[in-house]
């Protein structure tokens, strides 16, 4: 994993999202500098995942702006945006009808229009990056959860994204498999890729994140470097949250 990465800054401005009468995001501002890692923490239902999904517009905000590398992409072609912003999901979402290798080859060919040979070469390289080169011919279902998630990360990385989003990427994993995935994510952070990570892994947030944002009830309540947030939380809500999870 020595390739130089091209990463971009991300900025969300006054994002509002409602599901029916339920206001999920009530005006969220978030800026992530290029090459930095921001972890979003908070209780379930606080809007973390919805906010993350606004960054690649899987969730279209009702109002607000989204900037990638300083340029507004809220009205741009979402497919073009998503080529620049990779995403990893809680439940991996590997394509069950395709081999591990094909999971990576498929988007490279259909989106990036690469030839079969080019796509295979990239796919194999990304698989060996995550230590799973030998799993190429297998079905995703033949792999452990941790291995599946590493394939999902390889699949997203193969698209050469400038930003990576992680939506509770380790929440569905058995405890002994969590570490491998977290190490991989930390490796990406140290390579200078911009990461936005929704997580319940407070240890990861503390040691890897440049910034931590605490969300509650559709707002970012407190934000800052991990040491400040974890050691000197200001808001009572964050203090209460930390006392429950730490």
């Amino acid at each position: 994993m020595t390739t130089a990465v091209r990463s971009s800054s991300v900025e969300l401005r006054d994002i509002h999202v409602s599901f029916g009468t339920l206001e999920v995001l009530r005006g969220v501002d978030l800026r992530v500098e290029s090459g930095k890692t921001t972890c979003i923490i908070g209780p379930s239902g606080s809007g973390k995942s919805t906010l993350l999904r606004c960054v690649n517009r899987l969730q279209e905000p009702d109002s607000g702006d989204l900037l990638l590398d300083g340029e507004s992409v809220i009205k741009a072609d979402p497919d073009a945006l998503r080529q620049r912003v990779g995403m990893v999901f809680q439940h991996f979402n590997l394509f069950g009808h395709r081999s591990v290798l094909d999971n990576i080859v498929l988007p490279l060919r259909s989106v990036k229009k690469l030839s079969k040979e080019e796509a295979s070469a990239i796919a194999r390289a990304r698989l060996s990056d995550v230590g799973l080169a030998d799993k190429a011919p297998y079905r995703p279902s033949a792999l452990s959860g941790g291995q599946q998630q590493r394939v999902a990360i390889a699949r997203a990385l193969a698209m050469d994204p400038e930003v990576m989003l992680f939506d509770e990427a380790t929440s569905a994993l058995d405890p002994e498999l969590v570490k491998g995935v977290l190490n991989l994510m930390a490796g990406l952070a140290s390579r200078g890729l911009t990461l936005i990570v929704v997580t319940h892994e407070m240890g990861f947030a503390r040691s890897v994140a440049d910034e931590v944002a605490f969300m509650d009830a559709g707002r970012i309540v407190e934000q800052g470097p991990p040491a400040q947030l974890f050691d000197e939380p200001e808001s009572p809500r964050l203090q209460r949250f930390l006392s429950q999870v730490l």
């Binding site: 497919d79 073009a80 394509f95 259909s110 997203a156």
Partner: protein, 254 residues
């Protein structure tokens, strides 16, 4: 016992009907059912995708179509289309009722197959579409390459069941009054049975139907078992399709 044999298994009548069943009936039954299965599958996929659309003007026509063609007796639809369209569009289609029979069977099959596909596609986890969209694939590409292949696979047993029903329903085109060389299995058996007052020719026709349908039934069970146990597949070649894929995959965007 003799009565039974004389009524159902009279070899004289059976040997009399056998050449026609083999040369004409089997061929026509296969042409009718295979062509309407193909057309019905294509139309059914279109209906399924329309039915899943977020746009009401795509969803509604698919809904109405399905309700009508599933709700009417097949024999009524075949008569209305076969005779009605045959009369209305004589200049275009000629007076030959045979293609009209195929059309009617296809339209009926499409309604059922459309519902089968729709339920299959709907059963695919939403995360699959999210993941493919998140990778930058368009809705159409995601459906073609990721969602539909997985959805279709799950409903293959139901699909083959529908093909079995289609083979049997193809006998209903007899109501259109086909020419002697266009008769399918049932009509050939029925003609000789009516002429002779003996049911043995119909029994012979029935055996031919079973020869087609019973292997299909076993194919259903076979596929069902495979899907249940999960194949330990090694896809050694990248882009290598699956033998079970009905939808061309990996062919888009190359």
């Amino acid at each position: 016992m003799d009565d039974f044999v004389n009524t159902f298994l009279d070899w004289d009548y059976i040997s009399q009907v056998l050449p026609d069943l083999l040369k004409t009936g089997l061929l026509n039954t296969l042409i009718l059912s295979v062509s309407s299965a193909l057309i019905g599958t294509v139309l059914g996929m279109v209906l399924a995708v329309m039915g899943l659309s977020t746009k009401w003007w795509l969803r509604w026509p698919a809904r109405v179509y399905t309700d009508i063609f599933r709700g009417l007796p097949a024999i009524l639809t075949i008569l209305l289309i076969g005779q009605g369209l045959g009369t209305l569009a004589r200049d275009v289609v000629g007076t030959n009722p045979y293609p009209m029979g195929i059309l009617a069977l296809s339209l009926i099959a499409a309604a059922y197959i459309g519902e089968i596909f729709r339920s299959g596609i709907q059963s695919v986890d939403k995360g699959q579409l999210e993941a493919s969209r998140a990778l930058g694939m368009s809705y159409t590409k995601s459906m073609l390459l990721v969602i539909i292949p997985q959805g279709v696979r799950r409903v293959l047993p139901a699909l083959v069941n529908q093909f079995i029903a289609l083979v049997k329903d193809s006998s209903l085109v007899y109501v259109l009054g086909l020419l002697s060389g266009q008769r399918e299995l049932f009509r050939i058996g029925q003609d000789l049975a009516a002429n002779t007052g003996n049911l043995s020719p119909l029994v012979a026709a029935g055996v031919f139907f079973l020869v087609i349908t019973v292997p299909l039934t076993h194919l259903v069970n076979y596929i069902d078992k495979k899907l249940r146990t999960g194949r330990k597949v090694r896809a050694d070649e990248p882009g290598d399709g699956d033998e079970l894929d009905l939808v061309a995959s990996g062919k888009v965007g190359s």
